[in-house]
Amino acid sequence: MKHRPVMIILGLALLSLRVAAAVQVVTSTTDIKSIAEYIGGDRISVKSITTGKDNPHFVEVLPSYMVMVSKAALYLKIGLGLDFWADPIIDGSRNGRIAVADCSEGVEVLEKPSGPVDASMGDIHPQGNPHYWLDPRNGLIMARNIKKALVEVDSGNSAFYQANLQKFERELETRIETWQKAAEPLKGLEIVTYHNSWPYLGRFLGIKTVGFVEPKPGIEPTASHIAELIDLMKSRGIRVIGKEPYFADKAPRVIAAGTGARIVDLPPSVGSSEGASDYFSLFDTLLSRLSSVARNMP
């Protein structure tokens, strides 16, 4: 046992070599992180700037984000203007070697505004609605984009990434079928949500979002808007208010009291609520919450 310190030092040295060899990747959101981990396996080390618990539309820059990006070889953006805050972080980190990839490349974008966009319309993204990861079929596109970016920064492992991509695609395709089957009873369900985060999920599950608690994206609810929303929900018999966990439930509670509707926490990202621990379980959680609230609809 007298060699123990030596062994520990050797072990630590090996460990640090192992860590150093992993490609350092930073992502804007946990959803990209989850897919990247699947494809990169132990060859990469991924950190996400947002945790899923906070609103990804706005991020206060902390030194640790800058440190992460300073050390990274690859930055994976969500794109479509959602993570506009990533650019100052990437530029500010002054990391000349970092590659930046946009995971939204090739995605069919919903709700592209037809005319010019200005601040009076609220937080409308000129490129269209950016919550595309909430349709798992877009997860396939994201996975391909991530694999392509990984191969570009680490071509030595390209066969490994390719094999993992295929595994991921097979797994996701199987699950997409299961989810669609499980969502049959939800077809045609009309709901109201806090923020306009759900057109992609709605398209996938056949659910329609007919109103928002926010009068305009990113704007706090006002009294007159809440009153209008209550009237709309009563006239159409809408009984479900979906809420992203990072918004306050004050306004939804007022609406629920006025309509008898139920509030359901819908995690928009991996890590947003319990159970949604990776990209697959995110949809499991969303589906089970929506199904249970639809089954028990008053």
Binding site: H57, F58, E60, V61, L62, P63, S64, M66, V67, S70, P88, I89, D91, G92, S93, R94, N95, D118, A119, S120, G122, D123, I124, K216, P217, G218, I219, E220
Partner: protein, 289 residues
């Protein structure tokens, strides 16, 4: 700790903080000597209002129209402040300055209420974003402040005389109003561009805290300046170190470190009073505020 300073972004933030500390603790001497402490926070808030207005009109945060809009309102606030000085002296000027501050702060809130992400913009106007400062901003700020520094160096005897002995300067027939205009115009230029990179609160703290600490210890002009700079630089290094080490927002960390320096300075000063007071009673002179 030291290794944290090897990151280029930390060096850039530190450089920015040092540039800000340099010009602001100098200008702060005039502000503190003139006893118009809240002039700067009002002007900074006016700059923030101009910037918020430009944002709601659709201009980018770092663009010429935004800067000019900001400068316009800063100078407008300066004009309001100098008008309020001539008012009936039953109302202290500080009251008007406070109202100007509260007015512009309220206008910013009203403007940003209808703006998506308004509360985040509001926070950035207050706390700044030193960590993500762009190279261009760093360069242009350094150039601008050097220019203003040189300008003040040539006119130093004028500005210092008016700040410290206004009545005397008036008696000697100086056109004090004209010199005030020059002072506030250059001051406005500095505040406008500082607010864009550092936020209202850090600008105010850099202006006021280092000169106050220096005034606690010395009344000699040159020494006071040197002391103020030393404090501002040390607090910048400590604040950025703490920010990176503990992963806290940078602007507030520097402010907190300036306040810690002030607390230490006050304690030392009090201690010195007690020690000396036991030997012989000195004439009361804490400073001139």
């Amino acid at each position: 700790m030291i290794h944290l300073f090897s990151y280029p972004f930390v060096q850039a933030a530190l450089l920015a903080a040092l540039i800000l500390a340099g010009i602001h603790s100098y200008l702060g001497f005039h502000v503190v000597s003139r006893g118009v402490i809240f002039v700067d926070i009002s002007m900074a808030q006016a700059a923030a209002f101009g910037s918020a207005l430009a944002l709601t009109l659709g201009w980018a945060q770092h663009s010429w129209p935004t800067y000019l809009m900001s400068l316009f309102f800063t100078l407008a606030a300066a004009a309001l402040i100098s008008v309020s000085r001539t008012y009936d002296n039953r109302v202290p000027q500080e009251a008007f300055i406070g109202i100007i501050y509260a007015g512009f702060a309220t206008l910013v809130m009203l403007l940003l209420a209808k703006h998506a992400g308004g509360s985040e913009e509001l926070e950035e106007l207050l706390a700044g974003s030193l960590l993500t400062i762009r190279r261009d901003d760093l360069m242009s700020t350094a150039l601008l402040y050097s220019g203003i520094g040189v300008f003040h160096w040539f006119l130093r005897s004028r500005f210092f005389r008016i700040s410290q002995d206004r009545m005397g300067a008036v008696r000697d027939g100086w056109k004090v109003g004209w010199w005030d205009f020059l002072f506030y115009a250059t001051f406005g230029l500095v505040v406008t561009s500082s607010v864009h990179i550092a936020g209202v609160m850090l600008v105010f703290s850099f202006l006021v805290i280092p000169p106050v600490i220096a005034l606690l210890f010395t009344r000699r002009q040159g020494l006071r300046l040197a002391f103020g700079w030393a404090v501002a630089f040390a607090a910048s290094v400590a604040g950025i170190g703490a920010s990176v080490g503990m992963d806290l927002p940078t602007g507030p960390s520097i402010i907190a470190s300036l306040i810690v320096f002030l607390l230490i300075a006050v304690s030392i000063r009090q201690l010195a009073f007690f020690v000396r007071g036991a030997q012989k009673r000195p004439k009361k002179r804490i400073g001139r505020f």
